[in-house]
């Protein structure tokens, strides 16, 4: 039972850590998909994208590139709400296609001249207790709630959206944007999307254009988080492997008589080997099953934390299940291999005579 518990802790750590990094990536990608962004333009070489900016006036020449349907600059930053919760606040150009992707529960999109107006995501509005027409203090500036939005993606659901001009004034970044959202003419044709990306990259060498599905994967900070998650998970899995190895080695030593007996009764070495391996696999799979349940539970618990709920989009898919099963098989198989080899190497006659 202790071995199963050890494996469960290792696998739960694996599920929680890698699940968290994926939830972060998934949240970003799904927010882009929801707003129908096909390519994203970021400052070349930027590691932390929120602190870098691009010239807003690049919007017009980008629209001229063949295959581009529309472009909208976006200024993004983290802001702290009066409740202490950190959320993303984003500024969209008045009249841009981005506003059309925002499903509203109530209220309306701010007009071009309504600068100090903001659209609040539904869970945020509920959390803050604000309604359309109420005033919300953001970085000391009063904003009127123009609408309550109801997007599906977690990142969009927890975001504040204001007109770009208001956002630039708030951050003192006049004429600057953080990213460009690019829509292409033929988004379902990967070759066409790649062609547009190549043309944009050639025309704007200071901007890196990334397909929205890959944007999270190519982000350096998320890459670092991913590496930390994998590193920590690997250590946890190594501990699980040692637990299986230790248990099976003890079992083989304690049961040397039984193993010799099986050999004496004609059990082939392969059968004895499989018996030990099977025991390891059963231990590891039982531990992995428990660990997966505990890890998913922990992941959901973590995602409810006020400082993280705006960014994590938990999705437990077949890939995670397969990885847990693979981890279980690897733990059991590798952990059982040496003890099994030891078991079949011991001379049965010697053991039986000793007894």
């Amino acid at each position: 039972m202790l071995t199963i518990a050890g494996i469960a802790v290792a696998v739960a750590s694996f599920v929680a850590l890698t699940g968290m990094s994926r939830a972060l990536e998934g949240g970003w990608v799904r927010s882009l998909v929801e707003r129908d962004t096909h390519l994203m333009g970021l400052r070349k070489g930027a590691v932390e994208i929120l602190t870098t900016t691009l010239d807003e006036t690049l919007t017009a020449p980008m629209k001229q590139v063949s295959g581009v349907r529309d472009v909208a600059g976006e200024l993004v930053d983290l802001v702290t709400l009066p409740t202490g919760q950190a959320v993303l606040m984003t500024g969209w150009p008045a009249g841009s296609f981005l506003w059309q992707t925002l499903p509203l529960r109530e209220g309306r999109v701010p007009a071009a001249d309504e600068e100090r107006w903001v659209v609040v995501g539904e869970p945020m509005a509920d959390h803050l207790g604000v309604r359309v027409g109420d005033t919300l203090s953001i970085r000391g500036a009063p904003f009127t709630v123009a609408a309550i939005s109801r997007p599906k993606a977690v990142l969009n659901r927890h975001a504040l959206v204001a007109p770009l001009r208001a956002m630039q004034r708030l951050l003192d970044r006049s004429g600057r944007v953080t990213v460009f959202n690019v829509r292409v003419e033929r988004p379902d044709d990967p070759a066409a999307v790649a062609d547009v990306r190549a043309r944009l990259s050639a025309r704007f060498p200071d901007v890196t254009f990334t397909e929205s599905g890959a944007v999270a994967q190519q982000n350096d900070i998320l890459g670092m988080l991913r590496a930390v998650a994998w590193g920590t998970s690997t250590i946890a899995l190594l501990m699980g492997f040692l637990a299986v190895l230790n248990t099976l080695l003890m079992a083989v030593t304690e049961r040397s008589r039984e193993i010799a007996l099986l050999s004496a009764m004609g059990w082939a070495q392969e059968r004895v080997l499989w018996l030990i391996l099977l025991e390891g696999l059963i231990l590891a799979l039982a531990g992995s099953g428990l660990g997966a349940v505990a890890g998913i539970g922990a992941l959901h618990g973590i995602s409810r934390h006020p400082s993280l709920q705006a960014f994590l989009e938990i999705q437990v898919g077949p890939a995670l299940v397969w990885e847990v099963v693979a981890a279980g098989v690897a733990l059991g198989g590798l952990g059982g291999l040496y003890p099994a080899w030891r078991a079949v190497r011991q001379p049965p006659a010697e053991v039986l005579q000793r007894e």
Binding site: A264, G266, R271
Partner: protein
């Protein structure tokens, strides 16, 4: 003329790089349906002989023929032990977490495919050794005599031609020991198998038709016992 069941031809076996000579050029022929007692003091080499007879130990020199053929390796010996050779040990060696019925089935894995057939045969064997009412008992819930009877039933699991018994009564009281020897005699006569029994007790050895005496790894004598029962 059919080949003898087992033939040892000048078999020697040494341990610890030749420091211990357990068997010294032993030549021995054991025929079908025989009952043979290997009699000797502790350290005489009788257990080593038993292990060489069933391929658990490979001779350092000489050869072992089973029905006229030298099994080519451990895999072939394992197959023979699984299908043609049964084992009974002094320390009984039942698996403690399995019931008597399950213990008897252990040698059948890989030989009898269907679980129903295994259970049926194990039950028949336990009934034959007088343990009909103890089938669902764990070894810890049985007496020494009952455990040894279970081990005897297990040795017959795959209807062997040869049953090797290493001091089968060594850990039993005299009443249980007598019962076990009676059972061996009955089964050996009924099944037509060959029984090779190792003992240091002359009284036990005399229950076999043939008594082979060993000392210092050598065969000292080979004779038909007086008053042998099987």
């Amino acid at each position: 003329m059919p080949a003898p069941l087992v033939h040892l031809d000048g078999v020697s076996h040494v341990f610890e790089a030749g420091l211990v000579k357990a068997l010294r050029e032993v030549t021995l022929t054991i025929g079908h349906r025989e009952s043979v007692a290997i009699l000797g003091a502790s350290g005489s080499g009788k257990s080593t002989l038993l292990h060489v007879l069933c391929g658990l130990l490979s001779p350092t020199s000489g050869r072992v023929l089973f029905e006229g053929i030298a099994p080519p390796g451990q895999r072939a010996w394992a197959r023979l032990r699984a299908t043609r050779i049964g084992f009974v040990f002094q320390s009984i060696h039942l698996l403690p977490t399995l019931t008597a019925l399950e213990n008897v089935q252990v040698p059948m894995f890989g030989v009898i495919g269907r679980e129903g057939d295994r259970v049926r045969k194990a039950a028949e064997l336990l009934e034959r050794v007088g343990l009909r009412d103890r089938m669902r008992h764990l070894p810890g819930q049985m007496s020494g005599g009952e455990r040894q009877r279970t081990a005897i039933a297990r040795s017959l699991a795959n209807t062997p031609s040869l049953v090797l018994a290493d001091e089968p009564t060594g850990n039993l009281d005299s009443e249980s020991a007598a019962g076990v020897l009676d059972l061996f005699a009955t089964l050996q006569a009924g099944e037509g198998m060959t029984l090779v029994l190792i003992t240091h007790d002359l009284g036990v050895a005399r229950r076999c038709r043939r008594v082979v005496r060993m000392a210092d790894g050598r065969l000292m004598s080979d004779a038909v016992a007086d008053g042998a029962t099987p």
